[in-house]
């Protein structure tokens, strides 16, 4: 297996991009990534998108995007793992370069959620149709049940949940690509309207459009493109049971733990070695559960982490310096790649006001559904 590096990245702003279609966002992100690397060709491409079909009526995204990019003929395929589609696209790109099959592979995550589709219904297709959606549960509803189980078992409070949102907005206010430039107070979060008890509107990531792209090549060719390549040293994907009812402990995300362990093993590092992380905070409770499953804190101790500053910039392990899904936005299929871009920028010292001092090792964790799939990558500044 060859060593693999990211040599360029590009992304649209995340938000309600009324003037851009799915394909237009793709082209903007992909072009920026190639420009960033100074490359003018690719060998193949992976397009991560949860559902072009349900959101915009468009399937067969692989060839469509290659064609739109002026590269019809190139190998290109759509990959899907609900909200982890972007992370999976990155992983597939990594595997193709690591295996020696291709040299320049582009991983792009995209999603267009504001074109009039019933977002609640589309997102619910990531849950179990027969066993969960049939009875009227929603995505926030599933995470709300996880939250309640966590609060029951460990004493996590609604304020603990609010602090995750507050922290991430503080970070996101420094990110020019983020959907929300403003910060919120704990009181504002706790008085926002109820979505599914105990989760309120400001505990939930928003509906967003956006695209994000990274270009990969073998590490030993990276110098042709950039002085500051970022090596991918760990990559792991794990699945868990789709239905929440089928999990032994609804308050714990098995797939996140397994994918984390797989990535740590491959990279030869442990959670204590990670200096900056992007974690899948689709809802505040998700960040709490993910930092436990990734070993950043002990199981059950994730609640107070944001409140105590443990996961803020300047804290022990800055989590979601980009603003996370909450403040940056969550165009579902794009998120996994956007997380990788944040770590890429951090490890190159290009994160501006969000920079974590001397960050050399970073982690990105991207999750699908209510935790049915999780993909973790570990990156090292070279």
């Amino acid at each position: 297996m060859r060593e693999v590096a990211i040599i360029g990245a590009g992304m649209t702003r995340f938000g309600e991009l009324w003037n851009q279609s799915l394909r237009q966002m793709f082209v903007e992100a992909a072009a920026e990534a190639l420009n960033d690397a100074g490359a003018d060709r690719i060998d193949s491409m992976y397009v991560g998108c949860m559902s072009g079909g349900q959101f915009t009526g468009q399937e067969h995204l692989g060839p469509l995007m290659a064609d739109q990019f002026g590269m019809a003929g190139v190998a290109s395929v759509h990959v899907e793992s609900a909200c982890a589609s972007g992370g999976v696209a990155l992983r597939q790109a990594f595997i193709e370069v690591a295996s020696g099959m291709s040299d320049l592979v582009l991983a792009v995550g995209i999603e267009k959620m504001t074109d009039g589709a019933d977002v609640t219904n589309v997102l619910a297709t990531a849950a179990d149709q027969e066993l969960e959606v049939y009875y009227g549960v929603t995505f926030p509803g599933l995470y709300a049940m996880i939250a309640r189980a966590h609060m029951q078992a460990y004493g996590t409070t609604e304020e603990d949940l609010a602090w995750v949102s507050v922290k991430n907005h503080r970070h996101g206010a420094k990110n020019e690509k983020a959907q929300f430039p403003s910060e919120f107070t704990v009181e504002q979060v706790m008085s926002s309207s109820m979505v599914a008890e105990p989760l309120r509107l400001l505990h939930c990531s928003p509906v967003s459009d956006g695209a994000a792209a990274v270009l990969l090549c073998p590490l030993d060719q990276a110098k042709d493109y950039t002085d500051k390549p970022v090596k991918i040293v760990g990559s792991s994907l794990a699945t868990g049971s789709l239905a929440l009812a089928d999990r032994e402990d609804p308050a714990f995300l098995d797939s996140v733990q397994k994918s984390g362990e797989g990535a740590y093993k491959m990279a030869g590092v442990g959670p204590r070695d990670i200096q900056v992380a992007e974690v899948h905070d689709c809802f505040s409770i998700a960040e709490i559960c993910c930092i436990e499953a990734l070993g950043f804190v002990e199981r059950g101790k994730g609640g107070p982490a944001a409140r105590e500053g443990f996961t803020a910039i300047g804290g022990c392990i800055p989590v979601n310096t980009s603003g996370g899904l909450k403040a940056k936005g969550h165009p579902v299929g794009a998120t996994g790649v956007a997380q990788a871009i944040e770590i890429f920028r951090q490890l190159r010292g290009e994160a501006g006001a969000r920079q974590v001092e001397n960050a050399r090792l970073g982690l990105a964790q991207n999750m699908g559904g209510s935790g049915a799939s999780s993909v973790v990558h570990i990156f090292q500044g070279v």
């Binding site: 019933d118 609640t120 219904n121 619910a124 027969e130 066993l131 969960e132 959606v133 049939y134 009875y135 009227g136 549960v137 929603t138 926030p140 509803g141 709300a144 049940m145 996880i146 939250a147 309640r148 189980a149 029951q152 309207s193 109820m194 979505v195 599914a196 008890e197 105990p198 989760l199 049971s241 239905a243 929440l244 009812a245 089928d246 609804p250 308050a251």
Partner: protein
């Protein structure tokens, strides 16, 4: 919900038909072909008792389109005496009173209507035990 799919699901939805793995004893609802615990393939059928305990719950305030008029409603993961778990609504009570540990009985109810002209879909919901 297409009719053929709905009809296949009748034994599990109407009669709480589940499957017990002969190898490790795990009960899955609905029954599976392969046991998720031990990968065993010998599964015997059983009907779950119409009762259970709430494991975790929430109250849905922002519902999917089909459930608009019913919100807010409580939903829970319920565990039956056989050890099977499944998710359903908890009704006929104040939704915020549905909390982990609550004892419930399972009643046959209309789960959803497919708009004005589609089929009616039935199943079981939980009701707090008095």
């Amino acid at each position: 919900m297409p009719s053929p799919r709905y009809t296949r699901e009748i034994p599990s939805r109407y009669r709480l038909e589940a499957g017990r793995c002969k190898g490790c004893g795990k009960v899955n609802y609905p029954a599976r072909l392969i046991c998720p615990s031990c990968r065993g393939e010998e599964i015997e059928k059983l009907n779950l008792s119409p009762q259970g305990t709430v494991i975790t719950s929430t109250v849905i305030h922002v519902p999917p389109a089909d459930f608009l008029m019913e919100a807010p409603y409580a939903m829970a993961v319920v565990e039956t005496p056989e050890g099977a778990r499944f998710m359903t609504q908890v009704v006929d009570c104040e939704p915020s009173t549905v909390l982990p540990g609550m004892e419930v009985s399972l009643e046959f109810r209309l789960i959803r209507k497919e708009g004005k002209s589609g089929i009616l879909c039935y199943g079981h919901k939980a009701v707090p035990v008095a």
